[in-house]
Structure formats: C-alpha cells, structure tokens
Symmetry: D2
Subunit: 133 residues, 4 copies
Amino acid sequence: MLLESFNAQGALMAWDARLTSITPGACEISLPFSAAVSQQHGYFHGGVIGTIADAAGGYASNTLLMPVSECLTAEYKINIVAPGIGDTLIARGKVLKTGKTLVVSSAEVFAVQHGKEQLCAIMQQTLFVIDKK
Amino acid sequence: MLLESFNAQGALMAWDARLTSITPGACEISLPFSAAVSQQHGYFHGGVIGTIADAAGGYASNTLLMPVSECLTAEYKINIVAPGIGDTLIARGKVLKTGKTLVVSSAEVFAVQHGKEQLCAIMQQTLFVIDKK
Amino acid sequence: MLLESFNAQGALMAWDARLTSITPGACEISLPFSAAVSQQHGYFHGGVIGTIADAAGGYASNTLLMPVSECLTAEYKINIVAPGIGDTLIARGKVLKTGKTLVVSSAEVFAVQHGKEQLCAIMQQTLFVIDKK
Amino acid sequence: MLLESFNAQGALMAWDARLTSITPGACEISLPFSAAVSQQHGYFHGGVIGTIADAAGGYASNTLLMPVSECLTAEYKINIVAPGIGDTLIARGKVLKTGKTLVVSSAEVFAVQHGKEQLCAIMQQTLFVIDKK
C-alpha cells in the first residue's frame, strides 16, 4: 500500500524517483540526475531536493501508520547546506516523534558523485495523521 | 538576466512554469496542472508547491540583486494549508527584509480552479547573497 | 478567559509583558526593556523576541477559539532580521488560516526606540486546537 | 570567552540557566523550574524551551568559532513535541554543518521529572558568523 501510494505520485515518477529502503520509522528515496531535476547551474534543483526530503519524511511516517491511517505534510523547514552536485540524489527520512494527530520527522539529503555522498540538505517536518477511508 | 536564469532551470521548464510578473521586490510564477506535477490523489504535489514557493521568493529577491549579485536559498519553511486542487498553481513571492548577506522573503501559493484562487501554502525563506562573477 | 490565560503565564508576567490589543484573529503584546530580557550586548534577547512572537500568534488564534477550545504551539519558525534595540518590544500576531485541528499564524516583532518602531523578527507558526475541559 | 558571553545574557541569568557541558561542536544548557519560566498550566513555558534550544545551538556553534569570531541567530524552527513537565529543562545543541558565513545547528530539549528525561522539543537553526572586533 505504501509502495502503491508512492508509485501513484506523478511528480516523483516523472523524475524516476525510487523507494530504495523502508524499515519501521525510516525510509530512503533516490533519483537519478536529469534535465528535469536541474537548476540553472546544472545541479539538482533545490525544489527537487525539498520534494524528496518531504517525501522521505512522509513515507518514513507512513511506515508506522499504513494501512490504518496515512499522513499529509502540514509543514516542513529545510536548510540547503551544499549544492546538489552529482549523478544521484538520496533522501533518508526518519520519524522523531509520533502522536495521535501529529508526527514529527526529519530527513537528510545527499548528492552522490563518483560514489561519494555529500550532505546537501537537512529537513524538519510536521505531518498530520488522517484515517484511511 | 533574471528571465535567463529562470529559463535555465530545467526542473521549472519541465513543468512549463512561467514568470508571470516581476516588480521590484516581488515576483509571480504560475504553472499548469499535468501528470508531472501531481501526487497520489491527482492534486498538485506538495513538492511542486514548495518548489514554486521557493522560486517565487528567490526571484523576488533577485529583482533587487541582479545583475550585480544573485541569491541562493539558505533555507525555507512552508505550511501546506489546503490541498492543491485546480488547473493552475500560482506563487507570489515578496521580499520582507534585505541585508548585505541575507535576504528574508515570503511567498503565498494559490491553486486556481474554475477561475477562483484558493490559498494552499505559505512560505518564509532565508536567502544568501552571492556576487556574480 | 483569554486575558486570564495570559496573566497565568509566569514567564510573561516576570517580564511585565502586556496584552495591548485583541481583535478577532489578531493580538498585540508588548513588554518593557529590563535586565531580565537582555542578551550579552544589552539588547532584547532573541529568546524573548521568539517568546512574544509565539505568544502573539497563539493568542491571535485563541481570539477565534476561546472559550470553546484553545490552542497549543505545535511549531514555529522565526527569522531575527535586526537586533532588538530599544526600550519596548511589540509583537503583532495574526491568523493566516484556520482549520478544525490546525491553525497557521504569523507575527512580526518590533523594537521601539525613541518612539520609532523597527522590525526585528518575523515568525510563521502552526498551532494545534484542543477542546477545553 | 564563551562562558563570559553566556553569563552576560541577562535573560538566561534571570532564569538561573547554566552551561553544563561544552565540547567542540556541542553544548548543553540546563535550568531549574520556577514561576519565572512557567506557563498557564504550571509547565515550562514554550518560549523558555525555545530560548534554551536557540542558546544551545548558538553556543554549540560558538565552540567552533570563538574567540576568532562568534555567531548570531539568523533563524530557527522548533517543534514542541510534548509539554515541558518537570523540575529541570535540559537543551543539547550540536553543529550539523559549518560554513564561512553560515552555520546550521540543531538542538533537542528534554524535561526531567523524577530523574527521567522526556523529549519535549526539537529545533533546527541557521546562524550567521560575525568577526569579533
């Protein structure tokens, strides 16, 4: 169900994003570099970095919620700490605190170049839990 | 130069995003709905909403900086306040405070359906000023 | 009831903070300079600035909720845009979006010196609505 | 010099806050419960929680900067994840990323009751580096 939800996200599919790891309370997403994820200097776009950070935190939360309920992003805050230079972008999300109505998650995003990961963003996020119909 | 920078952003071009208004300290960006900007329920994806909010705040700042300098996003925080349901997404960014090194901006994002705008996100952002080489 | 809640906040009372205006969806709080609100350069402390911003956003929300329910801060993000230099600190909060469970507010904080207000901080906040017992 | 700066903060001194640990890139601050740090339910005030989180992230950064330079808070975002119930509040800050101009830090805040720590807040912060005159 989690994978089904992920694969139904047109924006992530258009970028060829993949769920590369799911464990209880954690999630990893990666995507390859392409023109469709680039900014004006040929690096990964900050919006793409934000999007997979948001998704990684959200699906990390969903590992603890689905199939009974699922979450929606209420808000997130992201620091871009280095340019996203490389061939692959990896986001690792984890749950920091669960509640009945709100979940707090975080994610780190890494750009991979020549097989070496460099931290490029750090996110903190609040998710809202909704019952599945 | 600002438009040139905007049009060089592959991620925004892949979505057919347009700079629809630029005035000193303010900027408006819009983009049409398509599968490439959708999430699992067929609405505008939260990451897309975040991306154009970030871009709107950034280009609002660039109106005051270019061509002498330009800005990079240091961080942003966004609240998603309603689902992005509609045919068009519009982000309006404005500068709240300028400094020599940091600029603080905000943006509101609206989803347009049947010609009616609904607020779907509110962003607050810190940008870092860099000299153009 | 709102004033009663405000006056029961020991931290705000210790600083001699006052609710100087309440209208539906908005709230103003001010406090005088003293050693107890200072930082190492003799300005208003960033934590004090954050506290009254948070309180102003929270009580702005409470104007729409009390006495049926009230709100708790889920999270806030604040940009300090100038040092808090002056004899008085004023925070003005307003509600941006209300929901059944979450409210989004903002606040601006001003330092007043020689009768002139200078913007020193900008906050965006998410509040959680709880029923009053 | 770091301790001197800390002890010059009137707001923290008024609460009897203490620097309980300093190591390179990390810092711990604690303070005892009193009326001056309370909110309307008799718990630690959210503003106090935010203040010591901000200070813990800031002094964690200062451990890497002082005496050559020091930092000012540009912005922070904090999630309050549980009420601050207890006799002592402890904030632990650490540096996530250093740069020439900006430092990114985080902090966790715990309320201690009957000797047991409970996580009550999580913060992410951007600091601005300034040269000491």
